[in-house]
Subunit: 158 residues, 2 copies
């Protein structure tokens, strides 16, 4: 278990091993910027992720999968967002067990503003030329694979 990607010449291997670490570093920057953005809206990161995810009304269960946590946690997160007037719970018409979470008008406004903030503070924007950004865009697109419409930070459709 020493070298998990070792079917490669040694020197080259070493250079490629840097990449996950660099990616980890960039990830830390993104995470840190995201936490700052959350704080400015007085949202915790899971709360902000929930708001970002709720482009459309969704069952609570769905949010648990997006947040990658147990369903029991969504109750509390939704409670706190609801208490602040950012989301509403309402019943689904086809299955009476299900409650749909939907952003209020205030919630939609907050969602839009967080997105702007994240975009404007992305480390990409600070340090790369236009040409480099285009290269990066293509590489990232390939890495994320076929983008899921339901992802926590969906492609812009607004």
């Amino acid at each position: 278990m020493t070298s998990p990607v070792s079917d490669r010449p040694a020197a080259e291997d070493d250079r490629f091993h840097q990449i996950p670490q660099l990616l980890f570093g960039v990830t830390e920057q993104v995470r840190s910027a995201f936490e700052s953005a959350c704080a400015e809206f007085e949202l915790t990161p899971p709360q902000a992720r929930a708001v970002l995810a709720l482009e459309h009304p969704r069952p609570m269960r769905w949010l648990a999968e997006i947040l990658n946590c147990d369903a029991s946690n969504v109750t509390g997160i939704a409670d706190r967002l609801e208490a602040r007037g950012l989301v509403l719970r309402h019943p689904a018409d086809n299955d009476r067990r299900v409650k749909l979470l939907e952003l209020t008008r205030r919630g939609k406004t907050v969602r839009r503003r967080i997105r702007s903030l994240i975009e404007s503070r992305s480390p990409v924007m600070a340090s790369l030329t236009d040409e480099e950004r285009e290269s990066l865009r293509a590489l990232l697109a390939k890495m994320v694979g076929s983008p899921n419409e339901d992802a926590a930070f969906p492609r812009r459709a607004d």
Copy 2:
């Protein structure tokens, strides 16, 4: 506040706006993979970040800065790592207020294994060709700027 990077033609602007979202998506993948790796070692993410950061003995204060949290939190995190035999506290010889955190042998082993796991599961490794990886490496290196030797995921020196 609608369009923070808008001194650019509309069509091109739209393409560049995708990048922070793509980067956010990749970040989610990295975060998710990191949490899985932590769980396999029965470490919380902050605990794992601490272990990764402690390549060399460091003051607790330093760790608070690396983890970007209040110093009071480091007490508990260090307590739990110490209780599991992964770190030790010992006094610094120049300043009697300071306690250095140092990985035990077990701690070093765990650190090495987490690093391997993260590397092997990085989304980079799954989806890019060698040539694309080299491009990505250069772009990431530029984004993180001059890499700090004390970063939470330092360049490999072992």
